[in-house]
Symmetry: C3
Subunit: 434 residues, 3 copies
């Protein structure tokens, strides 16, 4: 079923890569101009509407923090070497660091240095959104070599002032107000799989879904800074989300070459889980399903008890399951853009399963429909054995009784929902189901 769309896979891969390269160098955070600049680039693919939430706004239990912007940061060692240079790698400064410009001993500096012994060559990614601190992140290899004597100069040219937090959303409308949500986050500086892969996959998925004609569902796309951005979004759209979202997915860590991972929704019995599991079982993709756990990305917010939205997570190798996670090693080398375009097609197919699935109802409820008069039964019945098509027809007509949706019946008989597509169309045309 994914054959046709597979043809543009390589084309798509190189297009994603071009956007990746443009977004990579920008220093993003949960607020600030780097974030806005990144949104602007993504808008070329997905025409998100951007929203600004002023610093100090109360959003449920949280408060939107001051806006952070940074221009430069570095350390000068006692022997005059410039290290931890923000302009060379924006992970070197602790994200949301307050400004600093002074001379310090190694002892004092040491309290502000972060490294990762387990991955001695990597610069770790550290943030201090909600506590006014400053710091630098360096590789453990570099840390070990720093002179313990002499005077260091530290400089962070940042500011933290009232401003606003930016997020973007868009509705791709369908016949119904019922929605399927796709959400990803934008807030990390230069990282690849756990930053850019999510919003890029979402942006290009939008482009694929906008090609589907006569959409039944509406599709809601959200890109926001992780956690606080999702909370802002939920706060501003509470009623609509509660009324309309019938299924949804967070997209994250979509960029590596691993198998698909599906993290289920908080409630086991959800349309999202039913359709996704069905679709995975009939796909040729390798996959793993993992249970919901309120530890992870923005699914935590969508599934907070007051919302409890049926939002799962689609990823390849799960966050925290690869060693490069949250370090400078999570970079382009980790990316497989062909696999990423496959994931976008995977999601497009998943959407087609939702579009096809429905709670169709048999219009001849008492006795079987008389198929022969509609030319829908075998000619000169041998009755020796029905064809597989007639069997499927009889099963659909019997079980589409208002208590089962299509995918339920498919699961009973081991059909892929796409196997029934032509037959459903015919039954609709004959008025045998509605």
């Amino acid at each position: 079923m994914m054959k046709a769309s597979m043809d543009n896979k390589h084309l798509l891969a190189s297009e994603i890569e071009a956007y990746f390269d443009r977004l990579w160098p920008i220093c993003r955070s949960i607020t600030g101009d780097g974030l806005r600049k990144s949104f602007k680039i993504l808008q070329e693919v997905i025409p998100l509407k951007l929203h600004e939430v002023p610093s100090g706004t109360e959003v449920f239990d949280w408060t939107v923090p001051d806006e952070w912007n940074i221009r430069d940061a570095y350390i000068v060692t006692p022997d005059g070497k410039k290290i931890a240079d923000f302009k060379a790698n924006n992970l070197q400064v602790v994200n949301y660091s307050t400004p600093v410009d002074k001379e310090v001993t190694f002892e004092e500096l040491d309290l502000h240095l972060h490294y990762k012994k387990e991955l001695p060559g990597a610069i770790p990614y550290i943030t201090t959104y909600y506590e006014k601190k400053w710091g630098f992140c360096i590789s453990f290899d570099e840390y070990k070599k720093l002179p313990r004597e002499g005077t260091y100069k530290v400089k962070i040219d940042s500011d933290l002032k009232p401003g606003s937090l930016t997020f973007g959303d868009l509705i791709l409308p369908g016949e119904s107000e019922d929605e399927i949500l796709f959400s990803s986050y934008l807030c990390h500086p230069s990282m690849a799989n756990n930053e850019l892969s999510g919003p890029l996959a979402l942006a290009f998925l939008y482009r694929e879904l906008s090609k589907i004609e006569n959409r039944k569902y509406s599709y809601r796309f959200v890109i926001a800074p992780e956690t606080i951005g999702a909370i802002c979004y939920l706060h501003q759209n509470k009623k609509k989300l509660l009324n309309r979202v019938k299924a949804g997915y967070v997209l994250t860590c979509c960029g590596d070459g691993g198998a698909i991972t599906y993290k289920k929704t908080r409630e086991d019995e959800s349309l999202t889980n039913k359709i996704t599991t069905h679709y995975l079982n009939h796909s040729e993709e390798e996959f793993t399903e993992i249970p919901f756990d309120p530890i992870g990305s923005d699914e935590r917010q969508y599934a907070s008890p007051g919302f409890n939205l049926p939002v799962g997570v689609v990823m390849r190798t799960s966050f925290g399951q690869y060693k490069e996670y949250h370090t400078s090693y999570d970079n382009k080398e980790l990316m497989d853009f062909k696999k990423m375009s496959e994931l976008i097609h995977f999601c497009t197919g998943l959407v087609k399963a939702y579009e096809l699935n429905d709670n169709y109802v048999n219009q001849v409820r008492y006795g079987e429909p008389f198929l022969k008069k509609r030319d829908m039964f075998e000619d000169l019945s041998t009755k020796l054995s029905h064809s597989d098509l007639i069997k499927m027809r009889l099963r659909l007509l019997n079980y589409l009784d208002g208590t089962n949706d299509l995918v339920d019946i498919c699961d009973t008989y081991g059909y892929s929902i796409f196997d029934t597509e032509a037959e459903i169309k015919q039954l609709l045309e004959h008025g045998l189901i509605k």
Copy 2:
């Protein structure tokens, strides 16, 4: 429990065989005089009330077709040989063929010939109830030998005119209006297992059940032409069936020597399934249980979504599971009349399980009943261990609380429902349950 009734097994077998021999030669169809003649013979065993439904009557999505009667049919080959002689075997003509009397080339004739390559010696069974056509069925062995040159004469002396469709039913009344349904079909010409075994089993089952005294349930017996006859029946009895039928069975393919097959009801949680599975598990019969599927015999109609009646199927080797099905090889050689009489006793036992099962309610609800004062407890209690009878008594008294029926409790403790028969009688006599 079936010992006593087993004694008349041989007697019954030969009686069934005699009726089989009388019914065998008649050319039946879904309408017509062959059908009526067959009903007359069956009425000697089961006093069915016959009903006629005029051609043209609309029954749900269907319309009763014109009545078909046939007197003769044959082909004369170019070399003057009479073949496909209806009078020798009524399968040779396509059932419901329109009249024809003309000369044709082999090429034209070939369009009207049906054979079965996989079973080259057998005449297949073909019908054309809802399309005005004519045709002959011959063995593939014969087909191969037919001259390709010369003129064939074809003759079918049939007529297709407004008339009526015949079916029969009967209620064997019990104390309650709650009913157990037994249904079979009558419409095939000379075939054995997949035609005569069903109505014969049903007729003789009626005779056995009419011997049961103080029946709790009423028993509804239906014999009708398959599909269209069942639909007529459902149409005329819609409300009664929906209100009264608590369990039911289609009887078909009861005549061979295979193990019992039970095809379950459309809803898994049905009294029919519960009782039948319990009964099978405690019987000495080999058996298979298969899930419901809206492909098969008249269970398709009883289980159409508007009715959704709890009707299963009892058979030996299932339709389509034996190679002789729907050919001239489905004949007396396939029949095992002793096994057929065993199946009738099997069904009689099944009915006894329904009669015994009930939602009895304990009349001493607070604390155990004081059994000793009723002489229902061990004398000089050693309390070292209760007898199995006392254990059963305590369990029945505790669990017959209105939420479990008897067979539920039997299933919990591994009892056969018949093991509890004497005890239930005693508890009723002492007023301990009602």
Copy 3:
């Protein structure tokens, strides 16, 4: 978690043993002065309120019998030997024997003698509460040696007169009227595991539970003669028990060295089963769980259908599962007082699980709570991985939504409920749950 309380294990064991030794020689029955004397001794540990139910009182389906008291009983053999001496072992007389004082042949005597061939050295325990009879119990070894000729003298100095049945109860109050019931029985003469272990365990459990501060639940303790006493108790406290008892246990056969046996409640889905299974799974005790069966001790009455109280049974080796059961071999040699004190601590821990479990409700329902502002989140989030404590915190905050109680969540994540104790306290203090 039981470390601290384990320290007084040996102390407790020897205290239980001292009470055992005082209770042992008393001849108890379902009524009478032996029963009252035993209650008086137990009152030193648990201040039960005693109740007297007059003979002839109707209690549900039962009637309280006359009161039985006995002073002496013995047989003199033809050769003048005094055997079956009640004063040496009170099992020698059938409990509730009517008075007798006469000379009899062996033939007549034989009708009144009880022995146990499978355990030839043991005196069996036999009762005749509801039938006026007399009899003696002797070992089979002794029985075999009795002279078959000559005159025996039999003497039972007992009386059976209107009086009353005695039981005791006590409420250990907590904040709520919701109760957890502990019940045991007192009615057997000198037997150890299946008599004294139950009421002794219950008495000392009371002492442990009374030390728990700020109890949430109230605890109901009941000691009554088995069956008739429990029925009297249920009769007098019907409404209260139905309204208040949320969980409960019968304690019996707590005295041997076997593993813990938990017999489940009548309804599978009970708080009692959920908490007990959770507690067992996280305890270091070996254990077996067995299903409810209305055969056993007073759980039969608590679970009679009108009450259907969620009362399970805690024991070590189950009644009837050890060969000494209901004989003179069920004596002090069978007892392991250290194990018995462990069982009391086991029950105390079980109660602590009830006290800790609750249907707490998250007070921040929309989006995650902002933990950082409460100093409840990691400092300088590395987000590389949350600590186990933060994971637990996020899980509790998400799932404590009013539909799950604490133990449900613990079961999902494999936590022991005690692992969450400190965290629950902190969440309550911060007002994050209520």
